[in-house]
Amino acid sequence: MATHQQTQPPSDFPAPADDNSQIPEATKPASEVQQATIAQETVKQDPPTSVFKNSEPIREDQIQNAIKFLSHPRVKGSPVIHRRSFLERKGLTKEEIDEAFRRVPDPPPSSQTTVTSQDGQQAVSTVQPQAMQPVVAAPAPLVVTPQAAFLSRFRWYHAILAVGVLAASGAGTAVFIKKSLIPRFKSWVQRIMLEEETDPLKKADAKPSLAEEAVAAGKAASAAASDVARVSQEMMITKNEERKYFEDLTHLLGVQVQEMKSLSNNIRKLEGQPNNIPKIYSADQEVYNGSVTAARKPYTNGSNVDYDTRSARSASPPAPPADSSVPPHPKSYMDIMSMIQRGEKPSNIREINDMPPNPNQPLSDPRIAPKSKPWDYGQAPQAESSNGQWWQQKNPRSTDFGYETTTAARFTANQNETSTVEPAAFQRQRSWVPPQPPPVAMAEAAEAIRRPKPRAKIDQEAAASDDQSGVSDELQKITKFSESGGDGSERIQITEIEEETEQQHISPEGN
């Protein structure tokens, strides 16, 4: 599709060899190395898509995982775009995702046979928690924080509920005891009365037992009185307990009220302070995100200042991760958000007509030719004036930060000086300072000579890592990068030389 001949950028790349487009992807790294060593091009020009495209082979294991994911009934119910997005976030390439989508409608044979169906189910169930968690987590990473807030609130409820339950049970038992004791007492008294009646009936002629009866009656009366006293004592005790419960409850409530009062006092104090310090608001995730669900009214022509809740304006700043805190917003930001949610419009908005008065107005002619960039080798940017405007000089003056001294020292390379003194920062990386190379007459040749070395290094590393990519062993990759980190320091040396020579021939050329 791409015709490389047509896409010649204005900067002077020599045309890439046409046979590059025919080279199969597997040998592209090799061809890159060849090109680099042949100093025909100043920049790696071979089809740029070869670097910016996936050259990895399709990974079958990833496709299998994707198929399991896509075959899950719950996933089948979700929109296709979400499924693709999930697989992309898991690191599958486009080709792998397409292949998985192609295969999923065909029921994989393993799921049909009963013997392997269990394996299929197990595999699906293992994929399921992984799949569901990210799917659930992705659209709503914020659910966790409301839950956390909910949990903290839960403790209050817990305490209040517990005290209430205790008080209620105490009162209930007291009432129950009252209700059950009184009938029991009554029945007991009745029984005694009955016994008294039957006894005198039986001993009708026992006149001398009158005294005994009186004594017995007195005893019974005293026993009854003691019982009554005991019961009333118990009732008093339960009443006291109830009172204690209620006192505790009121005490707790009073404590809470006091805390809230102190909080509001603090907030008022903070509001009273001058406005240099950013305001801290009680982090309220719901307010922050509540407007995400609010709908946005469509625009009408010209009346752009219509009130509409910018539903995703609260998404800028975008939603924070669930585990870290929301950055403290300025108080006035929260004011405006709450104002909009209430339906009010901030009063400082003006009606402005910002449409072009003449949509066909031609652009004015440019007065200056486009300048080349510092990273286009061999073409130095025009440092127009070395008048000594403050913004052109790199000032080695050290500032408060420890970092700043190293940074300042590092950048001490005034355009007209050739610095050979290495700042302390570089001592870490190398102890030997290369001598300044002589000024270069032909910049292009110098670049051509210099560039292949770092290029070859990079390409060798790339080729090596490409060979091993099929293994997909994380450990290997990490060790590889630590190795390349070691090589990286050499690259720093090379680049330092490059930059210093660039600066050197900036100064004679820049006028």
């Binding site: 990473p141 200042v305 072009p356 652009l363 004015s364 486009p370 950048f411 790339a462 997909s472 320091s489």
Partner: protein, 317 residues
């Protein structure tokens, strides 16, 4: 160091590729939630204020990003919250501006990037999940790239290959595209959370930095993109913008909601080489001058724009 106080909250700052002392600032009222916007064109000057405003353009909606044309020295392009893309010509009198307004995106336009090699086209990325390619002389977009499933926060051209660009999205992936291909050529699932920004290494065309809500900046080599080359920790909150230095191969600047601007050298063991905490609100915009080595600018929700030389304190006077 010069400081400019804007009436609205800052969103983006860009140095002009033609004039060393010129920069443009995109600002939005009410933190960009709802309100007008304004584009400031600033000039650095020797002497007391250090920076003055040469012209300002008001917009009905927030301006989220601004970029300078690489072909015309006086032209700048603005990304507006109502989904429009507007072109301004500073060489024309202010009432003649804007000279173009393209209304195609369905949602806010979040970022702009002008092609530095071809110099005839630019990209816009939007919350409507698409990236659009535009040419200055065409009344409509040339192409729309629709593959992301969430807001595309930034799209950046490759500095060496004029047809290749990268896009960073809230769907947690970075995609590499080639305008000659029908779809994306590479998908990098870079972070577990939204990816807010990306930028190419100017000296190594295969190296890409991404920054995310997960507070890290990661550096990737697209040739072996499964594992990042480096993970830069140090910010306390989401990292909003990341930028590779135009002058030093391994130097990266980043700004974050922790209100700091950090400098990193990803090839060094202890990568953090500088930290500036001059802002008092979210730092959301950062740029490094292509014409003057070491010159940086940043802006934030505290309505301030700072311009300073690396190694100096931005707040020093």
């Amino acid at each position: 160091m010069p400081v400019f106080k804007a009436p609205f909250n800052g969103y983006s700052v860009k140095f002009s590729p033609f004039y060393e002392s010129r920069l443009a600032v995109a600002t939005a009222q009410n933190f960009g939630i709802l309100g007008n916007g304004r584009i400031h064109v600033l000039e650095l000057a020797p002497g007391a204020p250090g920076v003055t405003e040469s012209v300002a353009y008001d917009t009905a909606d927030a301006v989220y990003d601004v970029c300078w044309s690489e072909s015309h020295d006086s032209v700048l392009i603005a990304a507006i919250g109502d989904g429009s893309v507007k072109i301004y010509d500073t060489a024309l009198p202010p009432p003649s501006n804007p000279i173009r307004s393209f209304q195609e995106h369905a949602r806010e336009v979040q970022s702009l990037d002008y092609n530095p090699t071809r110099r005839d086209s630019f990209l816009t990325s939007s919350w409507d999940d698409t990236v659009k390619l535009w040419a200055m002389d065409r009344p409509a977009s040339v192409r729309t790239f629709k593959e992301h499933v969430y807001c595309v926060y930034q799209a950046v051209w490759n500095p060496k290959h004029g047809d290749v660009f990268a896009s960073a999205s809230g769907d947690c992936t970075v995609r590499i595209w080639d305008v000659r291909e029908p779809g994306s050529t590479m998908i990098i699932p870079g972070h577990e959370y939204e990816i807010l920004s990306c930028d190419w290494n100017k000296y190594d065309d295969c190296i890409l930095a991404t920054s995310s809500v997960d507070k890290t900046v990661k550096v990737w080599d697209v040739r072996s993109y499964r594992v990042p080359l480096a993970v830069l920790n140090g910010h306390g909150y989401a990292v909003r913008k990341v930028k590779f230095s135009p002058h030093r191969r391994s130097l990266i600047a980043s700004c974050s909601y922790d209100m700091t601007v950090c400098l990193w050298d990803y090839m060094v063991e202890d990568a953090l080489v500088g930290r500036y905490d001059h802002h008092t609100e979210f730092a959301v915009g950062i740029d490094m001058s292509v014409l003057v080595e070491g010159l940086m600018a940043s802006t934030g929700w505290d309505e301030l724009v700072y311009v300073w030389q690396q190694g100096m304190d931005p707040r020093a006077s």
